[in-house]
């Protein structure tokens, strides 16, 4: 019983981690957007005041302090060498990224909509035999399924699992993969060789084969999620390691080393900010790929939780797709919309920070 409880608990965490991660990411982005310009501004002012106190600059060079400007955001800071923050946000203002993010937000919020109606699972929705397989209409925008349920609500409900687990897997593998990749690229030597050898071995295993195997052996989807995370870690680690190796050769890292900065300082202040866009883009692409994989596995009906793929499988298996096209087309369309939104954000981020990406 404790094992079962633990598994259910872990599964719930994975299910909710996606939505949680989004809320956290949104809050983090807001905090970052507020705090960094302010910090830069006040750091500059503090430095100026110190210089003024020591008589190194004239009082005319120091801008007057604005009273109570904490709530006012000023992205057009003209700080020499430190205006990366403003340019960071301005580079992200691309239609593909913004539309993609909006679509993802809409899907995430939409997947909570049935919860407000009191449906936690698709099984909670009442069976209405009279409503069976109704074509799309204003009352039922996506039609109804073989049990007479509103298909839009069913699809939105299953989106919670698909999106949540995909984002959760991506979050875990991004954090672990970035950490391991930075360490590999920065430390090099024996550690790098051993770890990247292991990860190369992992990434050379065919993922479908390995996932079937794990599900067949352990019978739980939680371990499958772990396996997905490990594959993601291998991929992220490879990309991050290559980028760290490239960044290490730049002069600013050498200068930071020459100034006596410790390894931690160099990693935190010089390597990680340069990796931010790459990691973000790659993790979004990983989300898309995980979503596709989850839907394929759901189509094969080997997961213990339903995804959009299992709706397609149900429609195909019961031959409903021959007469009622909406039972298979709408889940497919939902997969397409979600995955292409995630991909467009990821590729947009990668492209806007890599001038050589074609």
């Amino acid at each position: 019983m404790p094992v079962v409880l633990y598994r259910v608990y872990l599964y719930r965490i994975y299910e909710n981690i996606g939505s949680l991660s989004w809320i956290l990411a949104g809050m983090g982005a807001c905090l970052l957007g507020v705090s960094i310009p302010l910090q830069l501004k006040y750091a500059r002012r503090k430095k100026d005041n110190n210089l003024l106190k020591n008589g190194l600059i004239s009082a005319a060079a120091v801008p007057a302090a604005e009273p109570h400007s904490w709530f006012r955001l000023n992205f057009n800071l003209r700080l020499p060498g430190k205006n990366q923050v403003a340019s960071f946000f301005s580079r992200l203002m691309k239609p593909s990224i913004i539309i993609g993010l909006l679509v993802i937000w809409a899907l995430v919020l939409g997947s909570f909509y049935p919860v407000f109606l009191g449906f936690q699972k698709a099984e909670d929705m009442p069976l209405q035999i009279g409503n069976m397989l109704k074509a799309p209409s204003w009352q039922y925008p996506f039609g109804t399924d073989g049990y007479g349920r509103n298909y839009l609500l069913v699809i939105l409900l299953l989106g919670r699992q698909t999106l949540g687990i995909a984002f959760g897997v991506s979050l875990i593998s991004t954090i672990l993969g970035t950490a391991i990749g930075v360490l590999c690229g920065f430390l090099q030597g024996v550690f790098d060789r051993v770890v990247s050898g292991i990860l190369d071995l992992v990434s050379s295993i065919p993922s479908y084969f390995f996932i079937f195997l794990i599900i067949g052996l352990t019978g739980s989807s939680t371990s499958m999620i772990m396996v997905l995370s490990i594959f993601g870690v291998a991929e992220l680690c490879r990309v991050v390691r290559a980028q760290v190796l490239a960044i290490r050769n730049f002069l600013f890292v050498e200068a930071a080393e020459a100034m006596g900065n410790s390894a931690v300082q160099i990693i935190v202040r010089h390597l990680l900010p340069n990796l931010l866009s790459l990691v973000w883009g790659q993790s979004m692409i990983l989300v898309g790929r995980t979503m596709l994989l989850l839907c394929s596995l759901g189509y094969l009906n080997i997961l213990s939780f339903p995804t959009w793929g299992s709706l397609v499988a149900e429609s195909v298996k019961s031959s409903q797709y021959l007469s009622s096209w909406w039972t298979s087309i709408f889940p497919i369309a939902m997969i397409f919309v979600a995955v292409s939104a995630v991909y467009s954000v990821g590729k947009g981020v990668l492209r806007s920070f890599d001038p050589f990406a074609r």
Binding site: L213, G216, L217, G288, L292, C295, S296, Y299, G309, V312, V316, Y321, L322, W325, S328, I329, I332, I335, F336, V339, S340, Y343, S344, R358
Partner: protein, 258 residues
């Protein structure tokens, strides 16, 4: 060069050996033997041993593994057990050959389709990056990467087999075409091949097109292409003799990746 080849060959051998160990280990862990599946009185100890594909004298896992490896090396993949009043064994190898032929036909056709389409689209997108057709190709690739492969199969089946009734939705040949000449059989096979081959190749055509486009557009920025242009060669000759020939090797590597 030879040292590199030998090293690669040894790596492949090592990898294959590791795979055999993994597969044998998993097969022996996974259970599901005849003693569990069939009625007890229909299964003798000899059946169990025979189903596992080992000798009766093999007791330790290592011995069983070597027997199994020897059998696999000589093309004996063990037996499938089925229950028809009594436990009956059929050789896996004999069942495998027609399946292998069918897969080979399907994969070969899909690969041919993939290579032709990928090369055409990728080269066009690389040569004319601002053309409106290139934008259509990019959109097609985007759609293709974000739709799962089973969805393509279902949509094609719904359109061509169910709605339009042009092509068959399953099977390899029409059983009603029993007495007919070679060409009718050939066309029938072709009709059955179209949908699965398109589905199989569509799962990879986007990534392959992207790869070809990146390779060719990288080559087109090289110095020797500019030299060839400066010599006064026409764009078509530069493309076919200088760019495509150099792009062939990395693109072929990508084909094998698919």
């Amino acid at each position: 060069m030879y040292g590199y080849l030998i090293r690669r060959f040894l790596t492949v051998l090592l990898l294959m050996w590791v795979m055999t160990v993994i597969i044998f280990g998993l097969a022996s862990i996974s259970g599901g033997g005849v003693d569990r599946l069939f009625p007890v009185n229909a299964v003798t100890p000899f059946d169990i041993v025979r189903h596992k594909g080992i000798n009766e004298t093999d007791t330790s896992p290592a011995q069983q593994y070597f027997t199994w490896l020897k059998n696999v090396f000589w093309g004996n993949f063990g037996n499938i057990a089925s229950f028809r009043g009594d436990t009956v064994f059929d050789s896996v190898s004999e069942k495998l050959i027609p399946m292998f032929n069918a897969s080979l036909l399907l994969v070969g056709t899909a690969l041919l389709f993939l290579v032709i389409l990928g090369f055409l689209l990728g080269t066009f997108a690389a040569v004319k990056p601002d053309h409106i057709a290139t934008k259509i190709i990019n959109f097609f690739c985007m759609v293709n990467t974000s739709i799962p492969d089973f969805a393509i199969a279902i949509i094609l089946m719904m359109v061509f087999a169910v709605r339009l009734r042009l092509l068959p939705s399953s099977g390899m040949s029409d059983p009603l075409l029993y007495e007919s000449n070679f060409w009718q059989h050939f066309l029938d096979r072709l009709r059955h091949l179209i949908l699965p081959a398109i589905t199989l190749s569509f799962t990879y055509v986007a990534s392959f097109t992207e790869h070809v486009r990146k390779t060719i557009s990288g080559i087109l920025q090289q110095d020797y292409i500019r030299t060839a242009r400066a010599k006064g060669l026409s764009g078509r000759i530069v493309l076919s003799k200088h760019a495509l020939r150099n792009g062939l090797v990395p693109c072929l590597a990508a084909v094998f990746e698919c």
